[in-house]
């Protein structure tokens, strides 16, 4: 008899594929986003099954949660603010250039062939190399942390991680450049039940986010997951308009955006002395330095993700003038 867990795996995999198809083909854009969030949720479950809880955390928090919120925000903007979807609120289709059905079909067949080729390549892939696990296991005692994924992210491949934070910084700079404005829309009325819940949920979220950051040194968790959970607080505050970004807050916000990148890069640069190279933390301070970096990066990620959700530089927009500062 086959292990029922295998049946679960197959069902989960099929569900994920089906959700991907459904999200792309469902007509209603709101349904598309719900399906996408569920898709992210189930992918996270699949990654749990593959013994990758760190990835599952990141995917659930960032891949499904924050991305879903971003999509939703954009859909809301298209439907209610710019009104480009206003007339067809339920079935909004924003046209790019109209594509003839033949081209679509040809593309689909083309992609199908590529996918088939990839599947064949995947099935025929013998894992020739040994992977990194032996190297990581051997180097872990010198990394300053106990959790391998954190060790890889913050020490062995810290350069990649620094650049990843730079990507986040580039994104927020680009988003601020693209859009600006201060909103004067009214706050949503969510009722007293919500008020009571918010009093519990917001501090709880802060605690969980901090806990994830702290536990990252020895268990699944870390700066990115913690930052994403903290960003959820920001999302709630922005959604309920408990906090409305103002032009005067821009200085602090800029500081928070660059905090993680700046501290990370400075530490990486400054440890290069006494025969060490950049990113080579002295062993006795490694844990402290990594925690410092992680803490600053967490703050940056939380603020940046919230700012990406808000999606514009809080500047008063002058009529007609493209170039106010």
């Amino acid at each position: 008899m086959t292990d029922p867990l295998v049946i679960f795996d197959v069902a989960l995999a099929l569900a994920i594929v089906a959700l991907a198809v459904a999200a792309l083909s469902v007509r209603d854009l709101f349904a598309m986003i719900v399906l996408f969030v569920v898709f992210g949720l189930l992918s996270a479950l699949a990654w749990v099954r593959l013994s990758a809880p760190d990835v599952a955390l990141a995917e659930a928090a960032i891949g499904a949660g924050v991305t879903g919120a971003l999509l939703l925000k954009t859909l809301h903007h298209l439907r209610y603010v710019s009104g480009t979807l206003g007339q067809q609120a339920a079935y909004g289709v924003t046209p790019l250039t109209p594509v003839p059905i033949g081209v679509t079909l040809a593309n689909a067949i083309f992609c199908g062939l590529i996918t088939l080729g990839l599947a064949v390549a995947y099935l025929g892939a013998p894992a020739a190399g040994p992977g990194f696990d032996a190297l990581v296991a051997e180097a872990m005692p010198r990394s300053g942390v106990d959790h391998p994924v954190t060790g890889v992210l913050l020490n062995f491949r810290a350069y990649d991680t620094l650049m990843e934070v730079v990507v986040l910084l580039a994104a927020v700079v680009a988003v601020w450049q693209i859009e600006r404005g201060v909103s004067d829309a009214p706050a949503p009325v969510l009722g007293e039940v919500w008020q009571g819940f918010a009093r519990l949920a917001l501090p709880a979220t802060v605690v969980v986010g901090t806990y994830l950051l702290w536990v990252g040194a020895e268990a699944p968790g870390g700066a990115f997951q913690g930052g994403a959970v903290l960003a959820a607080v920001g999302l709630l505050l922005l959604l309920t308009r408990a906090y409305v970004p103002q032009p005067t807050h821009r200085g602090i916000a800029r500081g928070a955006f660059v905090l993680g990148t700046g501290v990370f890069a400075l530490v990486a640069l400054l440890v290069a002395s006494g025969g060490r190279v950049a990113f080579e933390y002295p062993l006795e301070h490694a844990k402290t330095l990594i925690l410092l970096i992680e803490g600053m990066v967490t703050i940056s990620i939380a603020v940046t993700l919230a700012a990406l959700f808000h999606g514009r530089e809080p500047v008063a927009q002058t009529k007609g003038g493209r170039d106010d500062t």
């Binding site: 086959t2 197959v10 995999a13 994920i16 594929v17 991907a20 198809v21 792309l24 854009l29 598309m32 898709f39 992918s43 699949a46 990654w47 990758a52 990835v55 990141a58 995917e59 960032i62 891949g63 924050v66 991305t67 971003l70 999509l71 954009t74 903007h77 298209l78 710019s82 009104g83 480009t84 924003t94 046209p95 109209p98 594509v99 593309n107 689909a108 083309f110 992609c111 590529i114 996918t115 599947a119 995947y122 894992a127 040994p130 992977g131 990194f132 696990d133 990581v136 992210l153 062995f156 990649d160 990843e164 990507v167 986040l168 580039a170 994104a171 988003v175 990115f224 959700f309 999606g311």
Partner: protein, 96 residues
């Protein structure tokens, strides 16, 4: 039938579906979503690749790479969506 095989094929399929969407989707929002699907597919492949040794200890490096990939993707998505919003506002102004 081991989990890595199942989810590996699932990842390739999701990548392919995303690819179809990225090339064929008419809607600006849906294209962004299709790209996100592609990135999840690529993530699957890396996480599955981590299963070289018995399941108890997967290789942590690909896990770290996928986390990086997820953060990179959310940044790209945010920029694309900001472009879409700005563009739609301008186009809405045109029609008025």
């Amino acid at each position: 039938m081991t989990p890595d095989l199942i989810y590996g094929l699932c990842g390739v399929a999701v990548f392919g579906i995303g690819l179809v969407g990225a090339l064929c989707a008419q809607d600006r929002l849906r294209r962004v979503l299709a790209l996100k699907l592609c990135s999840v597919g690529a993530g699957f492949l890396l996480v599955v690749g981590a299963w070289r040794t018995p399941p108890a200890t997967p290789d942590p490096v690909p896990h770290a790479l996928v986390i990086t990939g997820i953060v990179v993707m959310v940044s790209a998505t945010a920029v694309a969506l900001a472009l879409i919003r700005r563009l739609q506002s301008l186009e809405a102004d045109d029609e008025r």
